[in-house]
Assembly symmetry: C2
Homo-oligomer: 241 residues x 2
């Protein structure tokens, strides 16, 4: 059992709390039974980390509770974590019919919830701009409730993504409040993509300029909806059935 934070393996794992090292090593950490189980189903576990005395099918690092409490993201950690291989792509799915694009979405809870909703409404791919919050941030992962391991996520430049989608005859809808039409005025098309924007600023003008149509969700009294809510309503309205 590893009891020291100075252990070389533990030092490597601690680095995975930083995006820089996650990118370098192409790995990330998840915490808790539910997420570890989802990672297992996805076949992306590299190493288990646990304070338990059990045998596991995967390579396992047995650690003390004090080591676990430093490695974990929560204050009262569950006794299990996993080091996982990143599973996102940088290519647009060829045969999808529903896509959701995220332009500089920054809040981890929003991105995680959006992944969970996308899976629920049958979306084929989420495309995140290069300057969104990191997909492998622990708060994003927690908010996905495991959807991270089931959802196809592509990280790439949104201009390139839109160009590629248009070549596949996907209609691209930008969400914004000005010069847009209510989502009620559009019906389901065979292939659709929706762009959701940054929490404060919405979708960038240069991205909106590339969209086929601009749409909004009809609201009253407030300036805007939370982006996680707006994405969910849009995906529900144009769900893939």
């Amino acid at each position: 059992m590893i009891t020291s934070l100075q252990n070389e393996k533990i030092k490597e794992l601690m680095k995975l709390k930083q995006k820089k090292y996650r990118d370098e090593m192409n790995l990330f950490l998840v915490e808790g039974f539910h997420l570890v189980e989802e990672a297992r189903k996805n076949g992306c576990i590299q190493t288990l980390v646990t304070t338990l005395d059990d045998d596991f099918a995967e390579d396992t690092l047995y650690v003390s509770e004090s080591v676990m409490s430093k490695l974990a993201f929560t204050k009262s950690p569950q006794p299990i974590m996993a080091v996982c291989q990143k599973n996102n792509t940088s290519k647009i799915l060829q045969d999808g019919t529903r896509y959701l694009l995220l332009d500089r979405v920054q809040d981890p809870g929003n991105v995680g919830t959006i992944l969970r909703s996308a899976l629920a409404f049958g979306y084929d791919q989420i495309i995140m701009s290069l300057d969104c919050v990191d997909l492998y941030n622990d708060k994003v992962i927690r908010a996905t409730q495991g959807a991270l391991f089931q959802m196809n996520v592509c990280i790439m430049d949104l201009k390139d993504a839109i160009e590629c989608l248009k070549k596949q005859n996907v209609l691209v809808y930008g969400t914004c409040l000005l010069n847009a039409k209510s989502i009620d005025t559009y019906s389901n098309e065979k292939k659709m993509a929706f762009v959701m924007g940054n929490e404060g600023q919405g979708v960038s003008q240069n991205i909106l300029d590339l969209c086929d149509q601009l749409v909004y969700i009809p609201i009253q009294s407030v300036e805007s909806l939370n982006v996680g809510v707006a994405a969910a309503i849009t995906m529900y309205h144009f769900r893939n059935e």
Copy 2:
């Protein structure tokens, strides 16, 4: 200018970070220009707290930056806060047509987002069970984006609330996954109320037993939606126009 945390007024304000004292004094704190402005429109500011050198219409406590940084909820606080009078009710609105009930919803971000969405979709009143997260928790308030000051919120026992709503001929819909029908199968009625449940456990069985109908949002692949998302889709689907 107050520079000491030992100042009696500051000690009183610090207490407002705890629900117990917010309940006792019937006051709460908000932080930042946007929320202070919304509180001002609502006429509920008791005292302003600021590091600025300006004159304000309200009673104002001028404090040092170090005092402000202790009082504030965020790491990089804005230079203004307000002590506000609580504005919730404990009575069901008589003439409403759309109500949303929250049964033990615990996450501050979820409750705040739900208030914001409720305002956007023209809901008349939110009714929170007594064991929801505190409405005046700073994270709830931040997530409302100011909707706290515009939305009618009632805090009361949900059984009593449902009994009262039924007497007003409001149809009460419980949300759950078992023995329920898709929201698609229901159309808008004159008076409707929807009950959303706790993040892990959903709506309590004893509350579901009191509902007129049970409904779910049609989803695939995932066990459930985030409650903030589920509430928003339900309110969008049955919006008050």
